[in-house]
Point group: none
Chain length 205, copies 2
Amino acid sequence: MTKHLFISSKGQLQARWKSAFPDAVVRAEPGGERPDVLWWARVPLNSAELSSAIAALPGVPVVVLSPEPVQEDAMHAIALGARGYCHSHATPSMLQQVAVAVTHGGLWLGPELMSRVMGAASERLLGEQAPDVDPGLDLLTPRERAVALEVARGATNKEAARRLDITERTVKAHLGAAFEKLGVRDRLQLVLALKYVPVDVDHAA
Amino acid sequence: MTKHLFISSKGQLQARWKSAFPDAVVRAEPGGERPDVLWWARVPLNSAELSSAIAALPGVPVVVLSPEPVQEDAMHAIALGARGYCHSHATPSMLQQVAVAVTHGGLWLGPELMSRVMGAASERLLGEQAPDVDPGLDLLTPRERAVALEVARGATNKEAARRLDITERTVKAHLGAAFEKLGVRDRLQLVLALKYVPVDVDHAA
DNA sequence: GCCCACCCTGTCCACCGGTCCAATAGGCTT
DNA sequence: AAGCCTATTGGACCGGTGGACAGGGTGGGC
């Protein structure tokens, strides 16, 4: 039986946690019997406390729960040795899933944050530099690029057509080609792909 | 029953794999029925092939197996979207463990690599974190904000609904409210509004 | 000349996205 | 208690969107 220990600010047990792990134990302070998974739900997140808690239980995966997942917190937590970071209101099934992943040596971050972390890590470890131009734009033909830029400004197909003086149908054609080349499914993702930027916020749940 | 598909250079099945997953299927090329876990054992590692294989099976965790684990390869693989990287001669129990971790949303890298990745990622992501928050976000209610962020990540209404565990209808309601508050007409402009203003590309034509 | 990439356009259609009208419910303020 | 905000969901409507299927036109390379 896997023992789950939740460290919550006021020792309160979320119904969802109980639902996910009926035999879960909740405490305001870490300590006591060694759990199989330590869920850290104290808010706000205190690096020193978390760090010592992790250090005190070598081998025990620690998952940080946050009512409002913030990327900085997640990075801090992971950097301190946490094995997961997710929303404290995640569904029971999600929590169970996270538990399975971390108890089997996995790291659980949630898709978006995961990709960010991976991106950052590989950028740094592979030692390269980010290209100045959108890596995607040069994959496109001049016309596709023009349409993509119009769309990236928030224009509708009709508006882009008017600006470029072509029919809406043609806009769709170029746009469709751009979607395929960039591997995205719609205009919004195309914009996100062009602004390779930090796709924002994260949240594990 | 979890379906495991191994992609091996010559379609040869390692005894250990068969031992770990008796019903595993091996092929030289990806394709066919959608597996629950795709084990990529083609050597040498080809980024393009791996990338397309991952793209072809959205949602399916891909684990790269290497006869000679190299950190650079691991980083490449992870950067391309792989969910795990381990020795192709890992023990059956180890493989099973990896399978459990990745099928439950985890990332599996092995202790050393894991810590290295985490260190690099946190260094980079914590380095220059622009603490600036989107001025528009605080105009929104928590729920509207959550929906807006989902959409800003490129999610469809349906996807956002699933992630937030509400109906698509409710997503539309929050989104509509967000549009009005931010003075935009659709999701794309909302994204543009959230990202500190765009540079307004030239429009001479 | 032929092939190919690019540009342009058309129709049809399923699906998605945004809005209107309307309702229930909990929390908070007055 | 009454009023307001927020969250949630339903139904319906319709225009925007993206894909499938089909072209025609141009210019450059072999």
